[in-house]
Symmetry: C2
Subunit: 341 residues, 2 copies
């Protein structure tokens, strides 16, 4: 058998197979693949026909070695939080119009794992990263951002230059809630928030706390302001919440950092035969689907997760196409009014 006719690798259809089948060079095929400059319409059609006929799909791994992978990575803190699906929906909506695909990874609220996964995504030669509420500090994020285009959702650091941020205005979200309660004539408002292992101002929850404190101050109720701390571990919180409501210093209203806990406050109130909102008013955060249940009926701050996702998607694509100046957006939250306040 002469050297020229040596058979191509049996199984897989590669760019070579396509080139052979359509009688052109691999370079030509590569150009068609990438819509690159300098291919005649005739050639393009011929190649496209072969591609369709052979069912050829480029190897992302091989592409990643030299060019783009057309994949972006999305890192989620954890997966149980109800506002994540919306963000992903938003991201996907933007990507659907491009030829990019999203791959997700779940950090399980573990900083070590988070780093590992980001590294993984870089090692995969992904074209860009969207981090959702990462636990890592800004300096760490900046380090990674040097290696890959990056936009971060849920991390307040408007001075960052290496990466973009997309956030809901969490201070304002808290303020909206507090104002709504004041309008009902309620002044004794506490905030419910988890113990944070490493509290820094970039943290979404910290921002809500700051917003709460400021709003209380502005309303002249600074002395009433207090943050009720519950465990970081979600399983431990429901009983703690019951206990808080049994305390004789029980506040007249509770603003919760998340619906995740707000529903348990509603629950605890019911168990203790407290009327909502007459005995205790409650406002949650995230306007999740549970809040909408008639049995729960929870007023909640809506941070339009889908919008955050699509904004992040757009920004990442523009960064991938070359933008280097940082962009920082803040989306206005709103109060979704139900019966709990």
């Amino acid at each position: 058998m002469s050297k020229e006719t040596k058979p191509l690798a049996a199984g897989r259809v590669t760019i070579k197979t396509v080139a052979a089948n359509s009688g052109v060079s691999v370079a030509a095929v590569s150009k068609v693949l990438r819509d690159a400059y300098g291919v005649s319409e005739t050639l393009r059609k011929k190649v496209q026909a072969s591609i369709d006929h052979l069912g050829y799909r480029p190897s992302v791994a091989a592409r990643g070695m030299r060019g783009q992978t057309f994949t972006i990575g999305v890192l989620l803190v954890e997966i149980a939080n109800p506002f994540l699906p919306l963000i992903i929906e938003g991201v996907n909506e933007v990507l659907a119009e491009s030829n990019y695909k999203a791959m997700l990874a779940v950090g399980q609220s573990d900083m070590k794992l988070e780093s590992k996964l980001i590294e993984s995504m870089i090692d995969y030669h992904m074209d860009g990263l969207i981090l959702v509420a990462p636990q890592l500090q800004g300096s760490q994020l900046a380090r990674f951002a040097k290696q890959i285009p990056m936009v971060v959702i849920g991390h307040h650091e408007a001075t960052a230059t290496a990466f973009d941020t997309v956030n809901s205005d969490d201070q304002e979200g808290a303020a909206v809630a507090i104002r709504a309660l004041f309008e009902k004539g309620i002044r004794d408002i506490a905030m419910l928030s988890p113990v944070l292992d490493d509290p820094h101002a970039a943290n979404v929850i910290t921002q809500r706390e700051i917003g709460y404190q400021k709003a209380m101050q502005k309303a002249g109720a600074a002395s009433r302001a207090r943050i009720l701390r519950v465990a970081y571990d979600a399983h431990l919180r429901p009983p703690e919440i019951v206990e808080l409501l049994q305390h004789r210093n029980r506040p007249r209203a509770i603003f919760c950092w998340s619906d995740l806990d707000a529903v348990h406050v509603v629950d605890a109130a019911m168990q203790l035969k407290l009327r909502v909102p007459q005995d205790i008013a409650i406002i949650g955060y995230d306007n999740s689907s549970v809040a909408a249940l008639a049995t729960v009926n929870l007023s909640s701050i809506d941070q339009s997760g889908k919008r955050l996702g699509s904004l992040a998607g757009e920004r990442l694509l523009s960064r991938i196409s070359g933008r280097t100046t940082a962009s920082h957006v803040l989306v206005e939250p709103s109060l979704f009014i139900r019966k709990s306040h």
Copy 2:
């Protein structure tokens, strides 16, 4: 400058950098990396020191071209369903002990997208795939399974040879629910289930329906058996559910295909001032966190999602290490008893 001293690419630390730094060949480094046979302890240590010192991480893309990527793909139907986090937790738990990482993709309940994402993961040269409740048919899945080790969760096809399946026994889950209701003396039990665009026996929901029908028959109440169909689109269902409960033929009990709808049945009952369980008994499916709320208090079938996830993870790893005979597991569900039945 002589040829031998030509500087390595400025930025990235590659296997070459490590080889140079430790004074061995790239082949040797590669072997250390993969714990391959034939490296002395001395060499290994020397190389490992360089790796640590330089902070070297192998390029997944380059690896994928010839060897393994040590990454497995997890495809989720959609992301909002509350039992998915548990499955992922289970998968991650198993992978954490290996050197594999999981990457997720979300199918958005769209068969076209689902195919595309599976292809993507194959193109990425991932080492294996876990599909969670895919919409694709068995034949399609088998086609993909020829190209990559695969295990499918939530797809009943115990005769499949190309891939493994891990399932909760959905027929039994329904039966458990029906029996529990019968024990309370209730015979007029309907099932609530969405309209399925393409109903086939592999479908988890279809299995629950079959289980329901069989259980009703076994209890001699076949004539009472009926399936109340609601829209496929989740947004349309709550009002439909209210309507169903207003109907004069309202059943004495409703077994729901998912907590997703069961909570709305509870809600509707409340709105219509029906007492649960005296006027209407309700049993859901998935034992999700909403079911546990005191305000909801929903009895629900638990399909131990975490177990399903870890079983799938184990099976995939064993398939990757060479197993070719198909394995099919069925996990027993159980009823988590609360106050709604």
